[in-house]
Subunit: 418 residues, 2 copies
């Protein structure tokens, strides 16, 4: 059979299975996730054995040690996957929620009820834990899921998938609700991306290359997360101690992630005092600064920033610093160079805070808090399936609710249209 | 200049203008719409003059009378456009709405605020009133809008667009917030569909051909509305008088629209009584019936339905009728042949009603009410920008809220991540 037929069959089976999953009670879904968690822990020896095959292949291909580390499954990481499933089991179920009903003049009652999307395709790279994490969120929200991980983790992903499917089978639920694409053939992805009648949403998780490849080739809606060029704006009214603490945290607490600060904007009225202070603090923390001309007036040791620096997602201990004339200039800079991910203001001025919240249309906008809170767990969504930096369907960190949609429900007692 | 450059410039200007529109108060936006309404009425002579050019060209090309009728602008239709704008002005503004905030253990407050999408592209056919209707909804929700109507209405659409832009200019708002693409060159659409950095959403309004063309060629998210194969299921417990009334209304009140009933499913326990009754009533109303074998047992004069009939969106006085063994069979039939648009059950059984509401995942699901209520106005959304039959972002009739998205807002007092 061809890859094209294989993928179509797999997706059609998932669609059928999704109809069953959509109508399960929360209790059954939670029970499923808890069984999956227990099964993963009990199957640790087999999972580690399968993982050895991937690790051996990776070493043979000379993969970088950091990449190999991401691939590793051990008892701790298997426990973390199981605990992740338990956390999702404990989250409220969005399916079936009706957020208010209203009555029309003719007496019909109208409301909107949350329902699963149907079939979700996850295309991801490297870390095998995504198999369990994504499966948990998709199944809890009443969807079927098709998982396609990277070829470097094919044995690990398949082994995890098989363990999770056992739990479905043992509960007499359709095993096809969870599909792990077990071929390393890249054309399998292209075939999946054509199946708009079977798959409702594609979520790519990985580098920008993967995300562009998926979104350019997909006929199915794709939730995209390109990059995080997060800005902090230190207003003239900022408390310097708070500004320093937040900026240091935003830049250095974990510099390699998308919600780390990459550019710092400073109001000119406080540049003379705050620029030397923050430059010194950042350098002490091992951060290289690239500054605009005004920044360099007040901190001559700083390297000059180029146009590229304003676009950069460093993901490293490097920070671009620019002094701006006022809040409008800060907003213009963010509009021009930002990635719609996360921006923060540090201010003690009520009107400036309100204006920042209103005018900055990034997916997460904060006052006096670190960019590092831009994360599904930190914001209180429970687990996170990804972050969207495009505005359709979901914008920002995505939790269970983002894997659902709403249908209208109407309760009548015989009404007809005049 | 090339079409490609023209479209890019136009979209970039729209994006800039959208940033201004996003931050207008509701009062200013409402004022804008009311001025536009008055301007349209005052400009009736010019609009009718421009419309004459389109009508002359249409007659020359031998367009069908029904198509020519859709094109006509007269005083009544201009007044209807103006009234439409006034109605949208009166609707609540979704922008800025924060639906609940919650506090995290570290004290940050988190909420989600509705914001405009940015730039919305509307690709439509024939009726020139879409120019005013779509502009009103997009501007009221704080977006910029790019309108591309059919070449047969180019003069009318441009004239309406010019009148509407005057109101923007007179209020010192950016005229680029409303763009009417004034070329009949079809490649303009293809160019627009590539501009994913400038345009946030494309809404095609027209026949299935237009919608497929747009969605196959777009790099921008598209809200699709393919067709409405709407079902009614008459349960064994249905009140026959109510069932007859609703079915007649659903089929005949306006058969040419997407929320008309196309297939009637009847529970076998009541087929002997209800089939002859509804067949007689439908025939009296001029409806041709195409039935399954069981239907034809009880109403021998009925034509046999073929497999095609179950898929058909007749948009005409034709109805497919099938007798089913039980509710599960009705659900299976709807899952197999439905278009996710609108389905209704007529029942007096509480559990069956609940089950139908839960199990049918079409965009509108009703109990004891006519399919014809599946419409933004009827459901209480105010005006309607379209109907989505795919699940991403919006599902079902779309109002102002569907032209927005939500960003996270976070209020802190110095919190950093541990």
């Amino acid at each position: 059979m061809s890859i094209s037929n294989d993928m179509l069959n797999l997706a059609q089976e998932a669609k059928q299975a999704g109809r069953v999953m959509a109508n399960l009670s929360s209790a059954v879904k939670n029970d499923l996730l808890l069984r999956m968690a227990a099964d993963l822990e009990q199957s640790a020896p087999e999972l580690i054995e399968a993982n050895e095959l991937d690790l051996a292949a990776a070493r043979e291909r000379g993969l970088a040690p950091a990449m190999i580390d991401r691939l590793v499954l051990n008892d701790d990481r298997i426990k973390a996957m199981a605990d992740g499933l338990r956390e999702v089991a404990a989250l409220p179920d969005p399916v079936g929620e009706v957020t208010g009903m209203w009555r029309r003049p003719n007496g019909i009652q109208v409301g909107r009820m949350r329902i699963p999307l149907g079939v979700i395709g996850i295309i991801f790279e490297s870390r095998p834990n995504v198999t369990a994490d994504a499966a948990g969120l998709c199944l809890k929200s009443g969807n079927a899921v098709i998982l396609r991980g990277g070829s470097e983790a094919i044995h690990s992903n398949s082994a995890i998938g098989n363990v999770l499917k056992q739990a479905l089978t043992r509960m007499s639920l359709p095993a096809a609700a969870l599909q792990v694409v077990a071929t390393t053939d890249r054309s399998a992805v292209l075939e999946l991306l054509k199946l708009e009648d079977e798959i409702d949403l594609i979520i790519p998780r990985g580098g920008e290359g993967l995300i562009r490849f998926v979104s350019e080739n997909s006929r199915i809606p794709v939730i995209k997360h390109y990059k995080g060029v997060c800005h902090a704006f230190v207003d003239a009214s900022a408390d310097f101690e708070m500004a320093e603490r937040i900026c240091l945290n935003a830049k250095t607490q974990r510099p390699g992630v998308c919600n780390a600060m990459e550019t710092l904007l400073i109001h000119k009225d406080v540049a003379e005092t705050f620029v030397p202070r923050i430059v010194a603090a950042m350098r002490q923390a091992g951060v290289e600064i690239r500054g605009c001309e005004v920044t360099r007036e007040f901190a001559p040791e700083v390297k000059a920033a180029s146009e590229e620096d304003w676009h950069a997602e460093y993901l490293d201990l490097i920070l671009a610093v620019k002094v701006v004339d006022n809040q409008s200039d800060a907003t213009d800079h963010i509009n021009r160079y930002g990635s719609l991910h996360t921006e923060i203001i540090i201010t003690s001025d009520y009107a400036h805070a309100q204006r920042f919240l209103r005018e900055i249309n990034s997916s997460v906008v904060m006052v006096n808090a670190s960019t590092r809170f831009s994360d599904g767990n930190q914001l209180g969504l429970g687990a996170e399936i990804g972050i969207s930096t495009t505005k359709l369907h979901s914008f920002g960190p995505m939790g269970l609710e983002d894997l659902t949609t709403r249908k209208f429900i109407v309760l009548g007692d015989g009404q007809i249209r005049q």
